[in-house]
Amino acid sequence: MKEKLIVIGNGMSALRTVEEILTHNKEKYEITIFGEEPHVNYNRIMLSYLLSGEKTFEDTIINHEHWYEENSIILYKNNKVLYVDTQKKKVICSFNQEYAYDKLIIATGSKPFIPPTQGSNLNNVIGFRTKKDVDTILQTLSNDKTAVVVGGGLLGLEAAYGIAKQGIKTILVHRSHNLMSQQLDSTAGKLLQKNLEQYGIEFRLNDTIKAIHGEEDVQQVEFNNGDVVESNLVVFATGITPNIEMALQSDIQTRKGIIVDDFLRTSVEDIYAIGECCEHNGCTYGLVAPLFEQAKELAKTLTNIPTLGYKGSITSTRLKVSGVDLFSAGDYLGDVTTEELILLDAKAGVYKKLVLFEDRIIGVVLYGDTSDASWYLKLLKEQTNIANLRAKLLYGKAGLGDAGHGGNDVNAMSDDEEVCGCNGVCKGDIVTAIKTNDLKTLGEVKACTKAGASCGSCLGLVEQILVNTLGDEYQAKEEGICSCCDVGHKEIKACIDGNEFDNVYDVFKKLNWKTGDGCSKCRPAINYYLLVKYNDNHYKNDPRSALVNDRVFANIQKDGTYSVVPRIWGGLTSPKELQDIAQIAVKYDVPTVKFTGGQRLDMLGVKKEQLEPMWKDLNECGFVSGQAYAKGLRTVKTCVGNQWCRFGTQDSMQMGIDIEKLTWGSWTPHKFKIAVSGCPRNCAEATIKDIGVIGVDSGWEIHIAGNGGIKVRVTDFFCKVATDEELFFYIKAIMQFYREDAYYLERTAHWVERVGLEYVKEAILSDKNRAEIYVQRFEESQIYAQIDPWQQSIETGFTKEFEPIVLAPKEEF
């Protein structure tokens, strides 16, 4: 038997919740929805476009009649729920019909707040909230009368803009001296006002309506200073209040709104509230993004998927007025404890303000150029330490000097400019794909165009193109790590930390995977996280969840052959070793032998069935796998150091060997490279490695998070140590913290850019005891990791499957 789920409200938050529930579990509920309005679910945010005539009502419909039918949802339109009998678990509607529920969602939204004003009960004094309000406005407008809009907030400006676009004289009254005072500081407010005046809107700031005069309909509006205008329409956009009438009638606990906890539960069991009608942690929200975040959490709760719960939202605003680029988020005003970074070009109409608190962005106001909005919002949400970016922050992401892609201003890019170098996708291809296929998320763009689907370095650019193409329709959300799921790395890691699992498939079940055995993206990731938690001794590393190179301990080449790289400790070899390698290369007729950038020898073109005997021969000569294929330690590159070099200050060769002996075999989220230079001339190129060690007269400098790949990133200086022991200590601590904290396939460079250098320093440098714990965990895991995979896979018989099965031609029988 399906449980009965009743949803009171047919708006955006209600329906988003229902949609989310259906994606998780189609069978669990029999769903009934009550809506007060006579429509299916439409996009309330688009009302201003409806008013300005830039969109039709059809354009704003989110869920059509057939959607309700296809999902067997009963919709009662024009039907108001009067109250809930919480004892008998029934809702009572207009005409006193009763409906029983097992679970109930209240999504009654909000009502426009109209301040007590003389004459506010006249006809054509309305709010700006529903399709009906828009219809009334459009029917009432007349060329010889002025329309008055009260309230200079987001909604008021959109209403005024929509009306002015119809060619009607429009006055906007706002009681403060600054437009959008909830979202903008006064500088941005002035720029905005100047821009909107071009559309013919007349602003009366620091003013209110004294009275509205008329018999039945509005005839005149009188302002505070006694001015009077002939008018037939007054639109109040003076805020909203949560619609809690029904909850009050039902004895559900309310304050400003219906009180809910982190799981959107009200004070009554089995009753949930969501959207503008609810109050979470003292906050009510009137914007769409928080409602969607709530919907996601509520749907999980209602389908028994483990969730961390809703933690409140950081809201951001974009004004939906064509030709006005405006964005704000967080605490945009600041106070005495905060700092501001400001860029103002009044002539060009560009204004950017970032409010900082302790080197983190807490508020953003952008006017005229909002191309970096999503980037700033990300820095804000993730609380990224921006101390190192400060000087360039205001110039946007492009100002950081992305070596891979040069300037990042997507607006300035032409359609034939290449965005994704791996898959050869141009800007125009992406824009066309977004428009013709109605793409909404980064994942969809990736799947459809392949842009960003390979190395991922252009994803930021792709996201910007998506944001610019979609405008307001774009909603950044944490995407699932692949199309099998809706959860991001953070949530997956938290789930694995908090529960016990035997294998990847149990994790899939717990997190409600859409596929039984995942895919080539999620399986290796989950396998990695389980390995981090349990180490090789408690968790059996699953070869079927490893990509080919990690599975067969060699690097696959374009023709299906492999390359074999034995470990050459610290890049130092001997005539005997070279002789052995040469003989083996000759014996197996290796077509190409090449020195690698990591100071070893690569034998390329080896057939899969040759791997086992070749490894055996190499093992017998004392070689182990160089793990040139691994998401783990690759090489420790060295310069000759003070053994030979006249500038050398330290024995970098021996140090390289020691570090490689210490760290070989370790697995990490992505490949890991180390280099040791014997002096600051840095011949080992240590400053583009994951860990770069540089010898100085008084000891060693440790640098981290460098990368020589697509996007060159120079290491950050981490710390300086005097002794070899300290150096080993920090290398172990850094590697362990990285493997535990980073996401799968996140190089140290990306990880440090995401979490901030300070975060890593704090974890390791601020508290010796904490660092000690990482060191111990590293040592513990190395006991089981430092086993030569070549020798092991021969011994366990794994290499048997490397042999092809050759069928004899049938003619010979």
Partner: protein, 101 residues
């Protein structure tokens, strides 16, 4: 066309594959998580990647070269990728796998 004996079922690793060579022909035989067997031409329709080296999930394999996903039953590339690789008929008798070539 005739049925040729290949190997025993247990010799095909679960969620893995074996490469079969017959004259000039290279075929991959896969075993899914449910133990079902499929045979396809061992070359991705994209750039001839060895499908036998890919990750097996559901009744599909992801090519190790550029992550195209190939349906093992039909040989068709999935998603927005276009292409098809030849599939072969298999039968099992007394734990022995036969291929129709």
């Amino acid at each position: 066309m005739a049925w040729l004996e290949v190997t025993t079922v247990e010799n095909i690793p679960l969620m893995g594959a074996r490469k079969i060579v017959y004259k000039e022909l290279e075929i991959a035989i896969f075993k899914t998580k449910e133990g079902e067997l499929f045979a396809v031409h061992n070359a991705c329709p994209h750039k001839k990647g060895k499908l036998s080296e890919g990750i097996v999930h559901d009744k599909m394999v992801t090519c190790p070269m550029h992550s195209w996903v190939i349906d093992l039953k039909s040989g068709e590339a999935q998603g927005s990728d276009c292409g098809c690789t030849k599939t072969y008929e298999l039968k099992i008798e007394n734990e022995m796998v036969y291929i129709n070539l």
